[in-house]
Amino acid sequence: MKVTPRRAVLASLAAIALAAALVGAAAARQSTSQATTITFWQTMNTQETETLKDLVSRFESSHPEIKVEMTYVDFGNHVQKFTTAAQAGQGPDVMRADTAPDVAGWAAQGLLTDLTPLVSARAKKDFVQAAISGAQYRGKLWAVPQTVDALALFYNKRMLAAKGLKAPPATLSQLVQYCQKFGAAQGIALQANGYWIQPWIWGYGGGLVSVAKKEIYVASKLSIAGIAAYNRLFHNKCATSNRDFSNEYGNMMTAFKNGKVAMIVNGPWSTADVLSGPAFKRSTNFQVATIPRGPGGQGSPIGGASFVISRNSKQAKEAATFINWLTAPAQQAIFADKNNLLPSRVSAYALPVVKKNRIIVQFLAQMKKATDRSAGPQGGQIYTDFTPAVQRLLSGKLSAAAAARSIASSWESKLFPGYKVVK
């Protein structure tokens, strides 16, 4: 082929254009490779993770300068994982925390970045009280709350109606009458777990521990009465006799989802899973009520999830951008809509999608009757010896008083030395 001058010009123009395009592409690629990658350990359950993945990809497209690398960490051992990793200078930039038990402990260990300067004043004023109390420690903010929660009574409306019960039980003794109508294995399913027994302890006027007063209440007369009442549920044809402590949570959910048990006690995180069950094809068959009142009060453990930034993080600023975005009212509304999670921001409750979510509204009634269980940096450890004692109680190896005393003495020796054990 003969190269005419004209062709040569065209060819060189084309070459220049091509080169320019290549350079442009390279530059574009370079800008993405310059994006900061933040690592994120998340502990959400299957249904929540679906929503989270969606939100993270939305975040990445609106914030091209930040990439989020998510790793699932089992909720059951997230404390051990993060504590050990962060202590050794490793672990993620962002960790999802179980606010009330985790944050104060990690802050006291010096493992967290102080978020006080990284969260806007507007957001700080907008957190609900239940969310903010666990996120603060010694006057500083260490976590950005995402949700609040508490245990509530779940019931199968049709099963209750079939026994002529129109409303949920209002008192703990009424709860016993209710579930006795169902026979041994169909009234209520409960857990052999320190966390699940708390409403009964508070309902009978007892308590756990007070860091301010340096007193342990779990072995007080009233607490023992609550623990004994919980134990009786398993022995008077009320609660499903708990015969498998290893699989009890899953078995409780399976029974309730399949209409094999009329009531359970659980938190907002489980509602999306409950609604996937065959017993709740008609979703209004699933109802949430406050935990019944006891002779000494009414209570449920205040909890919730939040996000913390590891002090090892080299990109705390970008990490803060991410968690501030993820906990903004608009994103909380999506979690509320998809997973019935209770927002941590007051303004989110004004959004229509939250306001008209009746499960959230039902849970809000429980939040008003919920109990602050924060117990300082050691608060996360209180269940370690609590749960085995409850297991021994329910398997008939310990009396309520002996179980309570064993919990109190282990707390006193391991967690709260010098505290007074109130009788």
Partner: protein, 289 residues
């Protein structure tokens, strides 16, 4: 020539060991151990961790179950393994296939076996519960809810997992026994039982001693099965010393106490180890050392 080896051993084993022993004399926990941002602030407390542990009635209970767990497992590994090895040590059809199938429990990763068994034991949705229900039993035992049943359940699982290894080792031992000896005994009129007792068993001794000692060490140290099936529950009933030490370190974050557990466990294993070496030396089986 020795220097690189000494260096590697020193960094990989010596340093952690020494640090562990030192920590066991301190009150280190997650707040005092220190990290990149907070200086360590733990203090030496002498032998307090050790005296606390030895005085703790929970520790004595756990040590008791550890002994039961170790000896029950090794006993059943050996007896069942020997029976299977004897059964397989005869000419038969599909011997290779049987041997392969019997290896399955050992070949499956333990965490998968543990989850499978946890599902089998599930009450009321598990396989055993459903099976007993079909057989007309009103209520199956609470495999993971009753302390004694939970202990039986984890031991059963570990027996299931450990038998193949013992079987294979003993089968090797059986095949190494000189067939002429057995033939000669038969010609002399020894009964089958007598031949087993006086020829086969003595011939198995070197292998058997090694298998039992290794079994003792492995079972004593076994962690996965219990941790994944019962997590030590109900109420610490199935806790063994290793899972109990793990709990002190990673649930309670009492590093000083956990280190003391580590030292106690190590000294127990040193006893086993010395026994093992002595036995091997006595057998004159250098190949096994």
């Amino acid at each position: 020539m020795l220097l690189p080896v000494a260096l590697v051993m020193g960094t990989l084993i010596g340093y952690p060991l020494v640090r562990g022993v030192i920590l066991s004399f301190t009150d280190a926990d997650r707040f005092t151990i220190g990290n990149a941002f907070v200086p360590a602030s733990y203090q030496y407390v002498g032998v307090r961790n050790y005296s606390d542990i030895l005085r703790n009635s929970e520790f004595r209970r756990v040590a008791g179950f550890t002994a039961v767990w170790t000896f029950a497992n090794v006993f059943f590994h050996f007896t069942i393994g020997l029976a299977l090895a004897l059964a397989l040590n005869r000419p038969m059809r599909f011997r290779g296939a049987y041997r392969l199938l019997l290896m399955v429990p050992w070949a499956v990763p333990t965490f998968i076996s543990a989850f499978a068994w946890r599902f089998i034991f599930n009450n009321p949705y598990g396989f055993l519960d459903q099976l007993l229900g079909k057989l007309g039993r009103a209520e199956a035992p609470a495999f993971l809810g009753d302390p004694t049943w939970a202990q039986l359940s984890v031991i059963m699982t570990n027996v299931w997992i450990g038998v193949p290894f013992t079987m294979l080792a003993l089968l090797g031992g059986l095949q190494a026994i000189d067939g002429d000896l057995l033939d000669a005994a038969a010609v002399d009129g020894a009964s089958a039982l007598r031949r087993f007792w006086d020829v086969t068993l003595p011939g198995l001794r070197p292998v058997a001693a090694t298998v039992i000692l290794l079994g003792l060490i492995w079972t004593f140290n076994a962690f996965n099965i219990i941790f994944l099936i019962t997590a030590g529950g109900p109420g610490n009933a199935t806790q063994i010393l290793t899972t109990f030490a793990y709990r002190a370190a990673f649930t309670d974050f009492l590093y000083g106490q956990a280190a003391a557990y580590g030292v106690i466990l190590l000294s127990m294993l040193l006893v086993f180890g010395t026994l093992y070496r002595r036995t091997v030396a006595r057998m004159g089986e250098e190949t096994w050392a």
